[in-house]
């Protein structure tokens, strides 16, 4: 049962609904029926003499009306009518209003008969009289439905609108982050600093590293603007990146690239593997004092390319660094391309984490479905 705040009225009324009341529901319900009762009183006083039996009848009438709507609410909630499409809902609601009108009318007639009071059945035009009464009662319930469903429609619409705004804002933000963080600046400056150290220690290696860094920068400045690059190009960049990280981590970082030779020419969105490898190091290897292994595997299946980045470490909760990093990385992947499917993050055994996803490959154009 929901713990939402109950309305003021619910403390006075016996509670027979298994659904929580909306905070305006009970007050609207009581005020509505009371208002109707008052209007009836006024009309009766204006048109004919008010007698005590008729006063009781009117009170009975409106109390029964109230009960009918309460039971109806129970029914429509159990059938989840609020979740229906508009047309389906409209049909049901109109029929329900007529049925409720009929029930209400029958209960009125029964009361009048039992109380020995005058009713329309003695009249010449009994059928016409009942038909017009049924029309009246149905209109009252229709109005009830209009208010009830109208309110919920309005609320749902407002919520949907709000959600839409929120979503748009978060997508914008994520896009900006994704664009800004294509190559982590921390990594660039650390690499430059390491190369500076290497110049004294091993000038030959320093020269190689400068080349790796310039290729990596060129790729991120130029190629990442393109829609697609070949897997071979992306892997080349991942290698430059891993080479540069090896001078930071030295023997703490080992890596293996197992690339399906068939997949080398496939076109993929740029940076997709790079993001995961960067993540594997930042949130995986860098937290392990003894270091670890990063492994990139690709498998070419007929309609899609499967990519997998495995690193040492464990994914515990989404609160820890590894989980959070992978979560961010998968958000960035989703932004990069709509063709990226089935992003999956999980532990392999006790000491490794895998991030997997697949890229749907465009089908070759055939003359039949072009």
């Amino acid at each position: 049962m929901s713990l939402r705040k109950e309305s003021f009225w619910s403390t006075f009324l016996p509670r027979f609904s298994s659904y929580p009341y909306h905070r305006y529901y009970l007050s609207s319900q009581l005020i509505g029926w009371a208002l109707l009762l008052v209007i009836h009183f006024i009309f009766t006083i204006l048109l004919e003499k008010l007698s005590w039996p008729f006063v009781f009848f009117l009170i009975y009438l409106h109390f029964v009306g109230y009960l009918v709507t309460e039971i109806y609410r129970e029914f429509l909630l159990s059938r989840r009518w609020l979740n229906l499409q508009f047309e389906q809902m409209l049909l049901r609601v109109v029929l329900a209003s007529i049925v409720k009108g009929a029930i209400w009318l029958i209960l009125q007639v029964i009361y009048l008969k039992l109380a020995g009071m005058e009713d329309a059945s003695n009249s010449e035009y009994a059928l016409l009289a009942y038909a017009s009464l049924l029309f009246n009662t149905s209109i009252i319930f229709m109005t009830w439905n209009l208010l009830y469903f109208g309110y919920h429609f309005f609320k749902t619409y407002q919520l949907a609108e709000l959600e839409k705004w929120k979503l748009e804002a978060s997508v914008k933000e994520a896009e900006i982050i994704a664009l800004k963080a294509q190559i982590n600046p921390h990594f660039i400056f650390n690499s430059l600093n390491n190369i500076r150290g290497l110049v004294i220690e091993n000038p030959q290696k320093a020269r190689v590293m400068i080349t790796h860094l310039s290729d990596l920068l060129r790729y991120s400045l130029q190629l990442s603007q393109f829609e697609k690059v070949s897997l071979a190009q992306e892997i080349e960049i991942v290698e430059h990146y891993l080479q540069l990280e090896s001078i930071q981590f030295e023997n703490r970082l080992q890596y293996h690239l197992n690339i399906d030779p068939q997949s080398m020419d496939l076109q993929i969105p740029p940076m997709v593997i790079q993001i995961l490898v960067e993540n594997a190091i930042k949130h995986g290897i860098s937290h392990l004092p003894e270091g670890g292994v990063v492994q990139v595997n690709t498998r070419y299946k007929a309609k899609y390319l499967e990519i997998e980045v495995i690193n040492s470490g464990q994914l515990n909760h989404l609160t820890d660094s590894t989980g959070l990093g992978l979560e961010n990385a998968s958000q960035r992947l989703k932004l990069l391309s709509k063709n990226i499917k089935g992003i999956e993050l999980k532990n392999i055994g006790q000491d490794r984490v895998a991030a997997r996803f697949s890229i749907a490959l465009p089908e070759p154009l055939s003359p039949y479905n072009a």
Binding site: H186, N190, N193, E250
Partner: protein, 241 residues
Amino acid sequence: MTSILVDDSRLARNELRHLLESYPEIEVVAEAAHAQEAKAQIEKKHPDLLFLDIQMPGKDGFQLLEELDHTPYVIFTTAYDQYALRAFETSALDYLLKPIRDERLKAAIERVHQKNQVNQVDLAPSSEFMRLDQQVFVKDGDQCWFVKLNDIRLFEINGKQTRIYFASHAPLIHRTLHYLETRLDEAHFFRANRQQIINLAWIDRIVPWFSGGLKVFLKEGGEEIEISRRQASRFKDLLSF
């Protein structure tokens, strides 16, 4: 002056060591690749100066400092870290961007020398209690401080943490009041009640309070501290000659 280099990259440490060759007065006594190793080395060698990288595997540089009871002079080194840079700028800490420029290093070392001359701090460890001229590192959001123990006028319990009051700041530190009580010299710090420890040097005036207790007003912040009856007699003994 002894120093320890803390950076997870060996090449970066080498590079810094190379730069420091031009400053013979700075002697590098140890290197550390992560916070844990650094902590052990600092507690063993008690350096005067620390060159500290912020981003390291496991605990970062700030977290390392927060764990130390007593911090040496610190020059932060960082490659690029917008959050850390903000902390440096708001808190006026000394930092160097990697790759490090020689002029910047020279200026930073000169500042350390100046501070050292003014303070004449004897950085050798004290045996039991923390000394009044010792500095501790405190971080509260973007703001960080190196605070001298004697500048702290009040320690106040806050769950498992302690709020310290100095100048116009009142950040939290990750220490229990009970732990601090064991590390603070009773000649200078007094446990006024279950919640608070006061620095005797910061007392402004004392008035008698209900049921045999006392009320103490502190200088500068004007905090009002109640001393329970039980503690009040101890307090009077402490202050009487």
